[in-house]
């Protein structure tokens, strides 16, 4: 396509020694990586120097005088000192790596460009908020945080963009999220990193990082007019959910506007957080968590709704604020 002219394959041929850095996270991860490598190289070189040094100096034929055995107390101090020094160094590295992991892996919340990702054997199906759909290609703008909301409709896959240092498994039943902020326009590999069967190695695609202007043009051209949330609202009616949940049917059902993200009291006692996985379970396994005050009468939609439509319905329910629905459902 014409607007992609500036985003030709930037992957270099031949022996590359460093992967591209195309997201803000890449340099942060690389700094830690190279510090770790430096520590390891220093330790390995020390070890090799000692082993080779001792091997030459104390080889069987050498006439060098042999020192007596190291006194037990000194030996213990060497061991404990080594252990303590390493523990301190390791804990510092652990803290650094852990802090960065929390920053990179915890959803920072707030307004982000949220792309729905459904993995299946052997392709990635993606949908942008404006409805634009893609397969095995992801167009994103620079300078804006992008959230991926992922699931799988069959086996476990893993969404891996080496240039972003980003990887997250797409697990059936679970909704996982990942976020990134692309920083360098270009085309980069998208791999499936979790073995998923025959064509695992061909479950590859690309990420096209564009300037914000180019992305806006691309999105406008490819948008379908109906984003995932709107599609979800349409499906919510089409599958007959609204009949009960929006109060027009004969059966009492809990109202769902603003339920996402809240804790829901259960008939069996206790509460459960209404996250995406809960909403999905409620469609497919309605008797798993029956809401307090209601009968377990909802039919299961198992096998009747494709995975991407479930994700659209979930997106719709998550977009609702309390009071968005004006009609009170029957109790």
């Amino acid at each position: 396509m014409a607007e992609q002219a500036g985003y030709l394959d930037t992957v270099e041929q031949g022996l590359a020694l460093h992967p591209e850095q195309a997201a803000t996270s890449a340099a942060q991860v690389d700094l830690l990586f190279w510090v770790l490598v430096a520590v390891c190289v220093a330790l390995v070189l020390t070890l090799f120097a000692l082993v080779i040094g001792f091997s030459v100096r104390y080889r069987a034929g050498s006439r060098r005088p042999r020192p007596g055995a190291i006194a037990e107390s000194l030996g213990r101090r060497i061991e404990l000192g080594g252990a303590a020094g390493l523990t301190v160094a390791f804990l510092a590295l652990f803290a650094w790596a852990g802090t960065l992991y929390l920053y990179l892996y915890r959803d920072p919340g707030g307004d982000m460009l949220t792309v729905n990702v459904v993995a299946k054997q052997w392709m990635w199906k993606l949908q942008h908020p404006n409805g634009a759909r893609e397969i095995n290609t992801l167009h994103v703008p620079t300078g804006q945080r992008v959230r991926l909301r992922m699931t799988s409709q069959d086996v476990i896959h893993s969404f891996y963009i080496p240039a972003f240092r980003l990887k997250r498994d797409a697990v059936p039943r679970l909704y996982t999220t990942a976020w990134f902020e692309a920083s360098k326009p270009g085309e980069y590999h998208l791999f499936c990193a979790e073995y998923c069967g025959t064509d695992h190695s061909r479950m590859r695609g690309k990420v096209v990082v564009m300037t914000p202007e180019d992305y806006a043009a691309w999105a406008q051209k490819n948008g379908e007019g109906e984003g995932p949330a709107q599609a979800g609202e349409r499906l919510f009616t089409a599958y007959g959910c609204s009949g009960c949940h929006r109060g027009r049917g004969t059966v009492p059902a809990p109202r769902l506007d603003g339920v996402a993200g809240r804790r829901v009291a259960l008939a069996a006692g206790g509460t459960v957080l209404a996250d995406a996985a809960y909403l999905r379970d409620s469609l497919l396994l309605p008797n798993k968590h029956v809401v307090a005050g209601y009968e377990p009468v909802m039919p299961s939609y198992q096998g009747q709704i494709p995975e991407d439509e479930i994700l659209q319905i979930v997106t719709y329910l998550q977009s609702l604020e309390p009071g968005d629905w004006t009609v009170e459902p029957r109790r």
């Binding site: 054997q121 891996y160 990887k167 590999h189 190695s201 396994l285």
Partner: protein
Amino acid sequence: MSEPGTHYLNEGWTLRSWLLTTDHKRIAWMYFATITVFFFIGGLAALLIRLELLTPAGEMVESDTYNKLFSAHGIVMVWFFLVPSIPATMGNFLLPLMLGARDLAFPKLNLLSWYIFTLGGLFTMTAVIAGGVDTGWTFYTPYSTLFSNSAVVLAASGVFVVGFSSILTGLNFIVTTHKMRAPGLTWMRLPLFCWANYATSLIMILATPVLSMALLLIVLERVLGIGIFDPELGGDPLLFQHLFWFYSHPAVYIMILPGMGVVSEIITCFARRPIFGYTGMVISIMAIALFGFIVWGHHMFVAGQSLYAGILFSFFTFLVAVPSAIKTLNWTATLYGGRIRFTAPMIYGLSFLGLFTIGGLTGVILASLAVDIHLHDTYFVTAHFHYIMVGGMVTAYLGGLHFWWPKITGRMYSGPWSIVAALALFIGFNLTFFPQFLLGFLGMPRRYHAYPEEFQLLHVMSSLGAGVLAVGYLLPMVYFGWSLWRGKPAGDNPWDATGLEWQTSSPPPKHNFVDTPTVTTRPYDYV
């Protein structure tokens, strides 16, 4: 009293005298023969994988075939070679000798272990012949339970069966170590090889049942659809990963602790020095065995487990590296002031030291959460665990074999050729696996049949290295075979080593010792 000149090898020549033997030394040979066959089957799969990866397009075999090759390679190498390797061969042969005992505590159980092992092997080989299995050695659900069209049930059953052989061997070793030590052989006089096998045995009996349960659940889910792991039925696919790694991470220590034991014997003998920090070594062995049980979640940092679980598992993983580092420090310090002889076993021992250190430290890189996001499931991980399991365990296995071969067979092998083989192993191994660290950092995922072109150069380097490595594996087969027929008699103690096994004749008599030995000194009493 047996007649002069008779020993465990020539006291019976019939097939029956082998297949129904309860002599731990003969059973060790039966294990040795069986796992050698498995090693070369697993090695053949590896060879085909490396040939396929010479080109990026994946054109030598079909994708399904490739997937079955790496699955067979993993399953055979882990459960039918690495787990039994040192314990079932050298452990079996040497533990009673090192303890000054006539046999293991339960000789018949020992024979039963071998039959169970072989039965499990037949199951898994049947699976390979009946079309193969394509789940990887990890059997991840829901792929293995709902989607794979291969012989998953047969292969998992084979691994299930072979688990009982591990458990029985572990039980036998533990009881033997507790009850059958020679007079004066106190716990703190035990050779570290005995300690290492003792710790390994503890892991075997504690962790293997969990794997057995997980595999049984896979079979039940596949056959009956019970819904433990099936998300459609409300099951949890991640539950399998927790169960699997609860065994399979400790199993990594099953696959390295015995190697550490072997190397401790070799380095002390050829440096002519007592081990540096014996007590610290014992504590480290037991600490590794213990900590090994609480780090399994580091295989799941990107799998969807809680972020805070990830933090905890990372923390423990950093800690488990400390006792391993202490061991490395102590082996190095043992060399200080020694009179070092560079025989083949010693070259294997020093190779182990270097390769294990690289493997361990890259493990620390992978334990670092933020970096693991990038490196997880790439060739960096492949390289890391091959440095531990092949660079570490297989090197130690060959080192041990070269060290005790004169005791086991009563004959010597070619000195120069064995040094060539040890060097070929070290060089070939590094050529094969070092490029894989770079591949992983560049983003090359594991288990890829076809791959983008820019990774080809490093793959070619790795495949060429595998050729050198193969020489390092095949050469010993030649000169060991030669030595069986033509080798010079070794004498009882050719290396001038301490340890009770060197005090009896080579090969040892059927009941190991003419008179029960008494121990009055610490181990490794080299001056």
